[in-house]
């Protein structure tokens, strides 16, 4: 039965880990704007043009 205790503790730790991840995500403002990121992620980073490479 001692294996159950270990499982219990592990599962609680995992669950609390997710809880804290959730609290962090709220704090960092991820729930304030849930539309714009879905558009933003579709923009490609344009490959550098020759001019810029020359400048660098």
């Amino acid at each position: 039965m001692s294996v159950l205790i270990i499982l219990l503790i592990v599962s609680l730790i995992v669950a609390l880990g997710f809880l804290f991840a959730f609290l962090w995500s709220v704090r960092s403002g991820q729930y304030e704007d849930d539309y714009t990121p879905s558009v933003r992620m579709l923009f490609d980073n344009k490959p550098k043009t020759n001019k810029e490479i020359d400048n660098n």
Partner: protein, 799 residues
Amino acid sequence: MQTIINEQKKDLHCFHCGEECDDERINFEDKLFCCQGCKTVYQILEEGDLCDYYELEKMPGISFKNTTSKRFEYLDNETVKEQLLSFQDEEVGIVSFYLPQIHCSACLWLLENLFKINPSIKSSRVDFLKKEVRINFNLKEISLKELVELLTKIGYEPSINLDQLDKKSPKKLSRRLVYQIGLAGFAFGNIMLLSLPEYFGLDIQSSEQFSEWFNWINILIATPVAFYSGSDYFKSAWRSLAQKRLNIDVPIALGVIVLYARSVYEIVSKTGVGYLDSLCGLLFFLLLGRIFQEKIYHRLSFERDYRSYFPVSISKIENEVEISTPIQEIKKGDKIVVRNGELIPVDSILIKGKGNIDNSFATGESKPIAKQSGDKVYAGGRQIGEAITLEVIHALNQSKLTQLWEDYEYESEEFSNFSKITDNLSQYFTPIILLITLAASLIHFWLGHNNVFEIASAILIVACPCALALSAPFTFGHALRWLGKEECFVKSTQVIEELANINHIVFDKTGTLTYSDQEKIHYEGKKLNEEEIIAIWNLTNQSNHPLSRKIKESLGKSLAPLEIENFRELEGKGLEGTINNRLFRIGSAKWLKKDAKEFNSSEVYIEIASALVGHFSFESQFRKGLGTLIQDLSQHYRLSLLSGDNQSQEFILKEKFPEGSLILFNQAPQDKLNVISKLQSEKNKVMMVGDGLNDAGALKKANVGVSIAENINSFSPASDIILNANQFNFLPQLMKFSLSCKRIVIVSFIISFLYNIIGISFAVQGLLSPVFAAILMPVSSITVVSFVSLAVWIKAKTL
């Protein structure tokens, strides 16, 4: 490189803004632009290597045709700066702007790449739905004013007004609610997991210790849920009890308390496992409903008052120098300059220049009024024509318009989260549940059972009206979203309920039933020959008076220029000039038609060589489909019309409206308000449909105020519903939809009652097991929510 082509071709669209290029056409690098503004933006973007803008969306730009150049000097004023910046230190400034022009992904991309145009901008971040951009910039290298000018130059002029300066932080989805729901969801899942052995009757009970461990962990997890996630329900229930009312949160709070107390009791006394899973599930679903409701709201601000119309600053003359000053700082005796198209912010006296004041914004009177030096001008008027100098006689908060507005502000209704229909129902619901509980306990006591406490608590638990509390917010919330897609924006879910009770609809005329910017001009009298038409065109071309300009436009775009002798513009009368030795006079009836008894300001008379030949009359044009709209509505509602204008269109309107409708003209804002109050005192539920500030009082007073807006994001008075003007014909569907929604809510109430009856019938017999409760509650909530969502969706599709 650059050529201007004047020939007329159809179907040519500006590369930047996509508008048809009719008047002007600019070719630049094989691309076509409709105006210099669009070309300039293209050049700026090209320099910043931002031409991807045009690849993300087709013709994404904002047209420059209808914009007037504004002055941003006031942004150098320290007070204004401080109010606008949300953060500043020596170097860094952070500012949020509301940019109503944001409309596509290309806008988003461009605004987030501002740093490529000007490296002093460190970063910018767009909130697409709120149409906001938050810019982090280097204060030393670029001033706030320059930043705004940059945005304006690329077509995104920030909308800055007094209103925004006052409230710094706009309403956000409250983080507290997100925490509450996250916690409840977390606990719901984990407690269910820990209760799994219990659900399936697995035999881990053999080791006493373990089941106890599991139960104690459950209590540990559920306690913060009950007291943190559920805290809003306790508060609301307490408030409602203090007011001697029973809102829907009372039985919910009671249910939560009983659930928690009984579960803890069972676990501590080792008599059972409690209902902690049900408790967390209940709160999770309830909070879901609440978050859904809150998410729908804050897209548009409805609480607009006069401050959102007024400019932030005005040019004040001090020692013969113009200084841009915030208008709150304008005092009695100051001298201010108001330019063409600017709003007069305070009551004042004209001291220099020719005033031509368009009061349509404040009074609804559509024709500009001429003012001369020494005349009083009131706040809310818009100057058309040359710049005028004014001496202030009342400060901002003492001006007539401001006071008018404040008179209208009757006590705002008590804040309530609940729909009326749910609220009314819960007046009966709670006592009935308490009675059932009491009766069941008495019967069991009578029969000598020793489980009276268990029975009573089981009834209270299972009767907890979770599904009931969810049905109205979800129905009306979905309805709000659907209406939003039709460009009909509703302030709150209560408004839709209120709509279903309306029986009388009152319309404003100008700008509501008629197009606000289109006027039909027709000529009556002796037929004019071509030479005379050209002469009139030339004369009106000399004048800046709005009526002259309209006549000119109606006659043709550009006619042959003629030589005019002795041209004179007579203030308040009209204009005259000699062409080919004939004296032409164009002006008001008062001046030219000596025998006239009534003076109609929407008529312009023509006199050629001392003989009156005819007149132009201006008529506002009715919206398309108005006839059928009124017919549709008159089948179910009584209709009225209140116009601030004169009677000139009485005949046409009487024909359109059904017989016996109340049609009144020359209504001042206060009159409109009084008519609405009178109708309400006759037990009518009144909906007011209006557009201008002159309707503001009536819109507020009416049970439902609908403001018709040409541009959703600006210029509409405070109201309950903002309807895009080109969706005006949507009104009958809106009314129908609101009635369907009410029916859907009633059906969903019946469904949730059925669940309650099933649950209570088990509970009174003492048969309510924790597993049964844990299944029944979510199932009832899910069925009700999916029923209403589906029903609203079907209704909206068949709208």
